[in-house]
């Protein structure tokens, strides 16, 4: 049975997108994938189940283990895009008190990053654009880029690249395929990090330009 976990970090919150089926046959691999994908410094984890087709009790036990791991103060976990039938069981059983359930990935990220309705990507932008020391109110800047979509695109690019390779050559064994997808996604996310740094610099530059323009305008008035 196939199962895949792909990673992204929109708005600085780690998101694991689960694809396929999780049962006792691959729950150990699923657990390892989640453990390996999270590092000591990660304070929050979102499990995106949009492409999850089935989860047995073995998979739920893995989620329980991750919930316990992320239960410490200052850490958090959330789950989103659950199918109607799974959602019904999760809420009826009270499992949603162990892992909070969110409708969308953005909702989950917002809840975990504590950024309210501003949106995870907005938090990113606000952090990038903090204009002056001593200014404690973040400026609400609308994001020009939806990191949620970037994450999906990266997953698609990775899958497409591997499929293209397999079309020209031969099918990779499942492990090698999963490793390849992971490696591609990591490379692309590194590129996104570089790009985000550039964006931060641009945003900071815009705030500096704005401040200078303001100064000039005031000088002219004076």
């Amino acid at each position: 049975m196939t199962m895949r976990v792909s990673w992204s970090r929109p708005g600085g919150v780690l998101v694991a997108s689960i694809t396929g089926r999780v049962d006792s046959g691959n729950s150990a691999a699923f657990h390892s994938a989640l453990e390996e994908g999270t590092v000591q410094g990660d304070h929050a984890l979102v499990l995106d189940c949009r492409h999850l087709s089935y989860m047995s009790s073995a998979g739920l036990r893995v989620l329980l283990a991750m919930a316990r791991k992320f239960r410490n103060p200052g850490r958090g976990i959330g789950i989103c895009h659950l199918s109607k039938s799974i959602l019904s069981v999760i809420t009826a059983s009270g499992f949603d008190r162990i892992i909070p359930v969110h409708e969308t990935r953005t909702d989950a990220i917002n809840a975990l990053s504590g950024s309210g309705d501003a949106g995870a990507a907005d938090t990113d932008a606000a952090d990038a654009g903090a204009p002056d020391e001593g200014d404690t109110t973040p400026t609400p800047i609308r994001s020009a880029v939806n990191m949620d979509i970037v994450g999906d695109n990266i997953a698609d690019i990775a899958a497409f690249t591997v499929e293209k390779y397999e079309f020209a050559n031969e099918d990779l064994p499942p492990d090698a395929r999963a490793d390849a997808v992971k490696a591609i996604e990591e490379a692309l996310w590194r590129e996104v990090e570089v790009w985000k740094e550039r964006r931060k610099a641009i945003m900071a530059g815009m705030f500096r330009t704005a401040a200078a323009a303001l100064e000039r305008a005031i000088e002219r008035k004076a």
Partner: protein
Amino acid sequence: MVRPTDTGDPEGNALLTRIPVIYRPGYGKARAHDPELAADYMRYTMVADPLADAAIESVAGIDTREVTRLIRAGMDRETRFLTRAPRRFREFFDGVEVPPPWWDSAATHSGRKAFHEYSDLFIPAFFVATVRNAATLIAKAFHATGRVNSRFGPRRIRQNTRHFIEIMLPGALDRFGEGWRLSVRIRLVHAQIRRLIRSGKDWDETVYGTPLSSAHMGVASANFSATVLGLAARLGAGLDRDARAGFMQIWRYASWLIGTPEELLFEGDEARTREWADIAHICEPPPGEESIVISKALFDALPGIVGQSAPGDVRRMVSNAHRIARALLGHELADQLAIPRLRTAGLLTLLRSRRHVQRMAHLVAPNVASVWRGASFAFLLDAAVLDDLSYRIPDRLRTEEATPW
């Protein structure tokens, strides 16, 4: 030995001469309650599972590892690999591949939801139903395997609990779902145990009937469905008609997969199924030594499963389980199973009141109530934890002599 008695029912009298000897006194009593159901039960004490038995017989001479591989191929529908399997083995998987026309997964939603809402009541009910099953002659077959004793008891309870939890999850009974796999696996294991028992000399079918007979599959199915519903309600579960019907349908299909004949599933009718279970228990001989051993092993395994090891806690927990089981099973059966005589007066009322308080709390503070339920569900997942889903079947009757399975 009991002689057939003339009750003025020629057909019943004729059957009385053919049924396994040990059932004759019980059948005599059961006929007075419901002659038709009693006769049905008796007939099925002499029926095995032709489809699964033929499959297991067809791979009897094949290396155990290869058999495990073939079972896995059947479960995973690896068509290419399955062509290596004997025809009757393939026919078995063909037979379970397509669900019966009455199976409607969507119609089970309410039952599944109710189970999760009241899992803290369903699980004790399920445990007590397991003890009730142990009161039948099925205990003799399981005892022969040595798998239900203090050493293997905890694993067996975990396996049962896991199956119960699994079939209550969405998609579990779809083809490739874990509930589907576990149910089919149980059927093959039963067929193999039956084969091993029959190949020995200790089981006389004219006395005891078919080992792990269809009658026993039927009574187990009835206990895990209708009896569990009744017990959970007595513990305080408030279940509406849809929830009960959904729960019955889940067990109807799971039981069909396990090999219970369709006629013994009563179209998932709860009342009829409960009647069948009651008649079955009247037909059965009084619980013997094997039933007592298995019942004790089930109770003794509980503390280990919930992670209690302090002697005081263990004693308290087993004692509470004895009290609840006695209250639910009644003193007569509890005495027969050597469940200690403890006071039960007012116990069920107390448990129901506690549940009532929790329901009230749910109305006042739903978050607090769902925290309780969440903790209970987490506990269930822990209780059902097992290393993997093995497709091995026993290669020896006695578990301690068999390759681990």
